[in-house]
């Protein structure tokens, strides 16, 4: 029986393998499959540009999607459990708008001097973008968690999150107004979201941060289950709720801010994937739900990345043009059927 329960993880795992391969084989430049395989296994290839495209563009992009999807989905699940609200998510609670504000401050105010997103970026430029995103998202997350101690209504809390989103975007508008055209352009491009922002050289940093965040999430599986019963029941079961909240704040903060800093504010993955996982699994028990959410997050991100590079000639479609098409119907389905869905009741 135990084996069959874990078997459900095999489905997204095999999809991830297929989609990861598809991401390497497909792209705006047509490269024969045999050449791609040669390049990947270190063989010689007829064109040096092909080698560059596969190793320096497609591979890091696929790995980024793999990690970013897992990060956003896991962060979304943790938020939904902590706020006892299945409609919580990084974008709805204003957390990635906090990250956006941090990034905007860095890009629009110091954009020219640090050379962020220019061809020969400095590592310090990227680190300051990450730091901006991290501080911005942690601040918003802190405000929301603080608010949640006295705003008991979940709907009100979501509206506060949306208000925070408006506030940050008003600051961003102001910053854009006084910024250079280049700064605004790179910020706008960043805001559309894509997985190509992480170069092969930055990839280890990116993956390390995400891995740390995911590791913390995995070690929080047991207390996350206890939190399903509410804070006081969790405390009675021996959970140190305050410490747990801080750990969650840090883990979700890292996952969302690092992903947002590198890939832009990607909508819907964090909100939608936990729902897909719960509906597939039929339980809110995090023992399986968290790993499944993580894997489906990667699957969806790889799928979105594949779709974004499909129109070969015209370049890439922004991710935020794709994720809502996949995500919004799921959320609408969930809301319409909420009386029949167990975890809503």
């Amino acid at each position: 029986m135990k084996h069959s329960r874990f078997a459900i993880l095999l489905l997204p795992l095999s999809l991830i393998v297929c989609l990861f391969a598809a991401n390497l084989f497909a792209g705006s430049v047509k490269i024969p499959a045999s050449s791609v395989i040669d390049i990947l296994f270190g063989g010689e290839t007829s064109k040096e540009t092909w080698q560059y495209i596969v190793l320096y563009s497609r591979l890091p992009q696929a790995v980024t999607a793999l990690f970013a999807g897992a990060a956003l989905a896991t962060a979304g699940l943790m938020l939904q459990t902590v706020f006892a609200n299945p409609l919580a998510g990084p974008s709805i609670l204003g957390i990635d708008s906090g990250a956006s504000l941090g990034v905007a401050l860095v890009m629009l105010m110091f954009g020219g001097t640090l050379g962020v997103f220019s061809a020969d970026f400095g590592i310090s430029g990227y680190l300051s973008v990450i730091l901006g995103a991290f501080i911005g998202s942690i601040l918003v997350l802190g405000v929301i968690i603080f608010m949640s101690t006295f705003v008991r209504s979940n709907i009100m809390l979501l509206i506060i999150g949306i208000m925070i989103g408006y506030l940050t975007s008003s600051v961003v508008s102001l910053l854009s107004f006084f910024s250079t055209a280049e700064g605004v352009f790179s910020y706008t491009i960043w805001g559309m979201g894509d997985f190509s922002g992480v170069s092969l050289r930055q990839l280890p940093i990116f993956c390390t941060f995400i891995a740390i965040g995911l590791f913390v999430a995995v070690i929080l599986i047991k207390p996350l289950n206890a939190l399903l019963l509410g804070e006081r029941y969790a405390a009675n079961l021996g959970v140190n709720v305050k410490r747990m909240r801080i750990m969650l704040l840090i883990a979700t903060g890292i996952l969302i801010s690092v992903t947002t800093a590198f890939c832009g504010p990607i909508a819907f993955i964090g909100l939608t994937v936990p729902h897909i996982a719960r509906l597939l699994l039929g339980t809110s028990n995090h023992n399986l739900l968290l790993p499944l959410t993580l894997l489906i997050g990667s699957t969806i991100a790889l799928l979105c990345n594949l779709i974004s590079v499909l129109p070969a000639a015209t370049g890439m479609i922004p991710l935020n043009a794709i994720t809502p098409v996949l995500g919004a119907p799921v959320i609408i389905y969930v809301i319409v059927n909420r009386n029949k869905i167990q975890y809503f009741n």
Binding site: K222, L228, L229, S284, N285, Q342
Partner: protein
Amino acid sequence: MITAENLTIGYLPNKRRNKIVHRNLCFSLETGELTCLLGANGTGKSTLLKTISGLLPPLAGSLTIDGRDLSSFTTHELAKIFALVLTDKTMAGGLKVIDMVSMGRYPHTGFFGRLNSGDHEIVENAMSMVGISDKAYSYVSELSDGARQKVMIAKALAQECPVMILDEPTAYLDITGRIELMNLLHSLANKQNKTVLISTHDVEQALMLGDRLWLLSDENSLQSGSTEDMVLSGGMDNFFAIGSIKFDRSNGSFRPQYFYSQKAFVEAPEDLMFWTKNMLIRNGYTTTLNKSEASIDVKIISPTEIFADGTLLTSFADLKHKLENR
């Protein structure tokens, strides 16, 4: 045993503004007894329960478990002493009943909460004790309020704590459910020597199955004693009394106070006396032992053989008719 001396309970919203609910409470919670905490709404029953179980810090005074101060226990240690059933809404509709009850094993399991065969057995036992074994694989969201309450009680049982504290556990249950639950709690206390403390509005059940009563009110703070001592010493008489509601010491029930205009002399077998008086009181008669001062003489032979002032009536409906038309 849990003992409190000069305990002040309340909330600590911030340093300048304490909200004190009660001062100088002294009590001890006895092992092997079912203690029922009674009190009107807003008298601080939940606050007291939360303070005893360590969810709220005491504002002053001492609260000790077997001589050790409660505040010196870690959250993890407390989880093995107190099992709580609260009135909180949970977000656990997506959990199966068996998963929910298994959460009770949380303080006893390892890092990922994996249950061993002993844990599984405890969970099965807990479910069968409250009678929800047949729903083990249902979702919590599919259960009625009463069944959810039973699930939470099974969770508390699975926690295997010496002390169980339940905040209004019978609130959502129907009458048979209440009696079953109170009986279960009573036997847990008496047979397994657990300390069980519940708050309840169900006075009838508390008087019937509670070993000890705690009466909490704004005027008299906390009064405690064995159930029968409390009732017979008059502790209950004015407890819920607001104007016209009075406690009837002879049968432990509350009644609206009637204006008795007339007296009745009653003769009835013991098993019919209660219901005969019930009808008379409801219709404005008080009973008397002195035949001469009575305005009516009622003699009950059987429910279908009733003599009122010597006239044979065949039902209580006829008696009522007779009382009304005098």
